[in-house]
């Protein structure tokens, strides 16, 4: 109700309606307050972990949470030396899984999406629908048989066991198909064929550059999806040195329930692990604007 009252008080002058009006006028206090409240709620755990990582274990349990202490550096050094520096190994593994998996996934999605968008061939729509239905199968349902199958080939507890299942992305294929449809004109393909350009080259030299901004989005989505993945590596891996950061920190937290001394390490590790992603995020924000309903990508 208050919203109505705040807005109802304003009568829009027709002259100001052109362009983006009202910017310089009295700010709407309540809507701004609601928006800021949402921002505070979302920043709270991140702010907490930044402060909590400056506390050693006894400070963590005994001082007011939002009062920083000076133990950040000693926390980082003891985390770095924990189990022979395994924490940085986990970080590196996550970069490898997410980077390598997302790259392979983008290539496969681009190839498939381009073919589905720009060629007419038998079974095209059946293939598209089948691939999309893959979104509906819960990962845990697949993880058990995937584990059993990979175990038969002796592939469990290897980097491949985490990388391979990350390559196929129905959502990535869906997006790539949309980008190919909207960014690669048929006339360009036609004239390249007239010039005798082979299909592989047509894809790599002509289609990929045109789809590039969309493919960056596919890469980012898949990167975050793999970075966030827990279940797959948790099931596939038993060697601590191959863990990604999510599984590593989970095992550390699990040990912390019997050895609370580990809690400050868990907190520091959580803090260090979210920083790279937040930076990646802020640096590449313009690629995150996606409209799943109309499939349009705004640049």
């Amino acid at each position: 109700m208050a919203l109505v009252r705040l807005d109802g008080a304003i009568t829009e002058a027709p002259a100001a309606a052109a362009g983006r009006p009202g910017r310089r006028r009295r700010p709407a206090t309540l809507p701004t307050a609601i928006l800021l409240l949402g921002a505070v709620y979302c920043l709270l755990p991140v702010a907490w972990v930044l402060v909590a990582s400056t506390k050693n274990n006894s400070q963590l349990f005994n001082t007011f949470t939002f009062a920083p202490n000076g133990s950040l550096w000693s926390n980082i050094t003891s985390l770095s030396s924990y189990a022979g520096g395994v924490f940085w190994h986990w970080m590196l593994n996550s970069v490898l899984y997410a980077g390598g998996g997302a790259l392979l996934s983008t290539v496969v999605s681009a190839l498939t999406g381009f073919a589905l968008a720009k060629y007419r061939f038998r079974g095209r729509s059946a293939l598209f629908n089948t691939l999309l239905a893959g979104v509906l199968v819960p990962p845990v349902v697949l993880a058990v048989p995937q584990y059993l199958l990979l175990a038969k080939f002796g592939l469990t507890d290897t980097y491949w066991s985490v990388l391979l299942p990350s390559v196929l992305s129905p959502y990535g294929i869906y997006l790539a198909r949309i980008y190919a449809m909207s960014a690669v004109p048929d006339e360009v393909i036609e004239s390249a064929r007239v010039d005798g350009c082979p299909e592989g080259r047509l894809f790599a030299r002509i289609a990929v550059p045109m789809m590039a901004p969309g493919l960056v989005t596919v890469f980012l989505f898949q990167f975050v999806a793999i970075w966030n993945n827990f279940l797959l590596p948790f099931i596939m891996l038993s060697d601590e040195n191959k863990f990604p950061i999510t599984v590593g920190l989970y095992t550390l937290l699990n040990r912390g329930s019997t050895a609370p001394a580990l809690y400050s390490l868990v907190v520091t590790g959580a803090m260090l692990s979210i920083i790279p992603l937040i930076i990646l995020f802020l640096a590449l924000q313009r690629y995150w604007r996606t409209d799943i309903a109309s499939g349009a990508v705004k640049q």
Partner: protein, 304 residues
């Protein structure tokens, strides 16, 4: 005489292009799904003393795995729990996402850029890490809330009782999912042509009226799709409760349906019943989402 090659779109190229995806789909989806079905109708039979290799083999078990899985009270209560969880989480999360998206799109609201980035930020935090952070915030010994509440003369409720744990887990889902859905809805709002509501504004309609009468109906398809995807995702909840479990006894290893499957497969080593329950969950999920998309299809595509 040579045919002009202009109109002969190559026959083999598209198959070569889709080959990697098809191979991966077969290897990582079709074969595992088939294998799950196969396992779900089997049981292990021990011959002799059960020693040595080959002493155990799989025999046909009919529907017995399904029968025992579906009559397990723990599984049934986890099903009920996940439905309640979804019922709490999805409306709150999408309601907030819509509210924030409308505020981002509204005029005269300040700090829009800051708020957009802040609210989207949790998307960059893996659910396991998010659960870990909230888990600490829920623990009275580490959390800042008891001290703040004490100043107001209140005490912090126990967030891990049988009644509150579901809300504690749902909060993590809301925290992690609101931003992504907000961006999807916001993007849809930005693509609504401004002419549609500039006229209404000139006629003296308030921003709230414009939002309710023009903007929300226009972004119907985006709302339906975020709704369907959110329901599917919440029914598959695993990471959050699984991560919180070490912090409390309230969250049992079979607290949610997928946790039950995991528990059966890897702790109780009963791949057969785990497979049967996987099939049940997958079929339910498929029917459910297909039905939802079917019902909403008309709405989803009328915008085109």
């Amino acid at each position: 005489m040579k045919q002009p090659r202009k109109h002969t779109a190559p026959r083999l190229a598209p198959y070569a292009f889709v080959a990697p995806a098809v191979a991966l789909f077969a290897l990582l989806m079709l074969i595992p799904i088939g294998y799950t079905l196969f396992l779900s109708f089997g049981k292990s039979q021990v011959s002799g003393l059960g020693l040595g290799t080959g002493a155990r083999k799989q025999v046909f078990a009919g529907l017995s795995n399904y029968a025992s899985g579906l009559s397990d009270p723990a599984f049934l209560s986890s099903l009920l729990r996940v439905l309640v969880y979804s019922l709490i989480l999805v409306p709150v999360m999408l309601g907030l996402a819509l509210l924030f998206a409308l505020l981002l799109d509204a005029q005269r609201v300040r700090f829009q850029r800051f708020a957009r980035l802040s609210i989207f930020l949790p998307y960059a935090v893996p659910t396991v890490i998010a659960s870990l952070l909230w888990g600490f915030l829920y623990l009275p010994t580490v959390s800042p809330f008891p001290a703040i509440l004490a100043r107001l003369g209140l005490s912090m409720p126990d967030l891990f009782t049988t009644n509150t744990a579901l809300f504690s887990v749902a909060n993590i889902g809301v925290w992690g999912g609101t931003g992504f859905n907000m961006i999807v809805i916001y993007t849809a709002l930005r693509s609504v042509p401004t002419e549609l509501y500039e006229a209404a504004r000139i006629d003296g309609a308030s921003q709230v009226q414009v939002a309710l009468r023009i903007k929300i109906p226009m972004i119907g398809p985006a709302l339906v799709l975020t709704g369907v995807f959110s329901i599917i995702a919440t029914l598959q909840v695993f990471n959050e409760p699984h991560t919180l479990a070490p912090l409390t006894n309230t969250i049992s290893p079979d607290w949610m349906p997928l946790m039950k499957v995991f528990d059966l497969a890897f702790n109780e080593q009963d791949s057969y019943e785990a497979a049967a329950l996987s099939v049940v969950i997958a079929v339910a999920m498929f029917v459910f989402s297909y039905g939802l998309l079917r019902v909403s299809n008309k709405r989803v595509f009328q915008g085109r």
